[in-house]
């Protein structure tokens, strides 16, 4: 399964389909699954969960395109078309940054898994992995919150843009935690996904 997955994952058709499927996943997570926040009567959508999952599982390029495009499509379908170009850029960069940070570690981990018999032990030593994932989450959050603040300030002023910062931070943190937990759960339940990182 491993070698065949690797052959498939380098083909252009595989890349196109994986980006399309993950774009659709991001759009569905953004549109469909909304957790209400009682005090503000607002919602947290799970689009960021899908973006971090894609970055951790499929790598930076897939996360760049599917993260940006998926949230842009969700904006388009939910009547917030004016946000679509902004989401395309911001969430794309968020996924790219998170993916780039974990990339080196995942490639190294894959080489270890291929070369050493103690690969299972390597997998269990998750301290460094968590730190790198945390760094990816932090950079992703800074990019998303910072760029939304800047674009909001340009569109409707500094005051309302600053008001949105706490909500965006909560959404991004939930996205990172959810994305990390989902990556672990999916890798555990369906190990071939480990070979799909591009």
């Amino acid at each position: 399964m491993t070698s065949s997955s690797k052959n498939i994952s380098t083909s252009p058709a595989y890349r196109i389909v994986s980006i399309s499927v993950l774009t659709a996943v991001t759009a569905v997570f953004t549109l469909l699954i909304r957790i209400p926040i009682a005090p503000t009567r607002g919602y947290i959508n799970l689009g960021d969960v899908a973006i971090f999952f894609t970055a951790f599982t499929f790598g930076p390029i897939t996360a760049l395109i599917s993260g940006g495009l998926g949230t842009a499509i969700a904006d388009l379908l939910s009547g917030y078309a004016q946000w679509a170009p902004i989401s395309l850029v911001i969430h794309g960069l968020q996924g790219l940054a998170a993916g780039l940070i974990v990339r080196k570690h995942i490639i190294k981990f894959r080489q270890n898994a291929d070369n050493t018999a103690e690969s299972d032990e390597h997998r269990e030593k998750g301290g460094r992995k968590i730190l790198i994932s945390l760094a990816a989450g932090l950079v992703g959050t800074i990019i998303m919150v910072g760029l939304y603040f800047l674009s909001g300030a340009a569109l409707y002023g500094i005051g309302p843009a600053a008001f949105e910062i706490p909500g965006n931070i909560v959404q991004c943190v939930v996205g990172f935690v959810g994305g990390y937990m989902l990556t672990r759960a999916v890798v555990k339940a369906y190990p071939p996904v480990r070979d799909l990182f591009l």
Binding site: S20, A24, V25, I33, F53, A81
Partner: protein, 256 residues
């Protein structure tokens, strides 16, 4: 679910070529950021709103206001404190609540954001998504990118259905809560999302092979199931949209 932004109709805006419409959309939005004065931005925004009535129908034409309202309230509450210059208009005890500059800035931001929202609403309410993709292709979007967009729209209903099936199955087992959101509900979401993701990821190799079997990656000439009209209509609509663009940019200078 995936056709929610398009409203069928035979209005002037619907009949306009989507390529020319996209040009007008970009010009219209750019104009709202140019320093022409609030009266011009308000006039252009008013035109967008008026065009939305025949394009989306009276009932739907004002639906963007429902989405805009919370943000408009935020702009009204949070913009004036950042602008203290000019004549003081409202005070409460010793606190300056509103100045002339604050009022002007608030109006500019509301008008601009309403204008941007309506420009996008007008474009997507009068242009089906397949035509949007064809328009982007005409403007140079690569085939692979267009393919990704089209396939994503194809997968959205599939993944939505998968999510509903999986969550229904989990509900039947009693492991996924319904009704009010709480910790148990969020905890129950993880296995549901894991199953949805695994099912989605598993379709990738099969779909990739199917795409290759259909000729993806070969150098033979591509055919297109749908095409945008060309010829005289496109030329006329483009001339029309360039003229409108020039008028809306030149009008403030002419009036001044």
């Amino acid at each position: 679910m995936i056709e929610s932004s398009y409203h069928e109709g035979d209005s002037f805006v619907h009949a306009f070529d989507p390529r020319a419409k996209l040009l007008l959309l970009i010009t219209g939005i750019t104009t709202l950021f140019l320093p022409f004065g609030v009266e011009f931005s308000a006039a252009y925004t008013g035109v967008f709103i008026l065009l939305a009535i025949p394009a989306a129908g009276f009932r739907h034409a004002f639906s963007p206001f429902k989405l805009l309202l919370p943000l408009i309230i935020l702009i009204i509450l949070l913009t004036p404190p950042f602008f203290r210059e000019g004549e003081v208009l409202i005070t409460y005890r010793n606190w300056i609540l509103l100045t002339e500059a604050g009022l002007m800035r608030t109006i500019v931001l509301i008008v601009r954001f309403t204008g941007i929202t309506y420009a996008f609403f007008l474009f997507f309410a009068s242009t089906p998504l397949n035509q949007v993709v064809l328009t982007l292709r005409w403007y140079g979007l690569p085939l692979n990118a267009a393919l990704i967009v089209s396939m994503s729209f194809r997968f959205i209903p599939y993944i939505t259905t998968t999510y509903h099936h999986v969550s229904d199955a989990h509900k039947l087992r009693g492991s996924y809560q319904t009704g009010m959101w709480g910790w148990s509900h969020i905890r129950g979401l993880l296995p549901v999302l894991t199953s949805v993701l695994i099912k989605s990821v598993k379709t990738i190799p099969v779909m990739a092979m199917s795409l290759e079997s259909r000729g993806f990656g070969s150098n033979s000439k591509r055919t297109s199931y749908q095409r945008l009209r060309g010829g005289r209509i496109l030329f006329t609509h483009f001339i029309f949209s360039v003229m409108i663009s020039l008028i809306i940019i030149a009008l403030p200078y002419v009036v001044a």
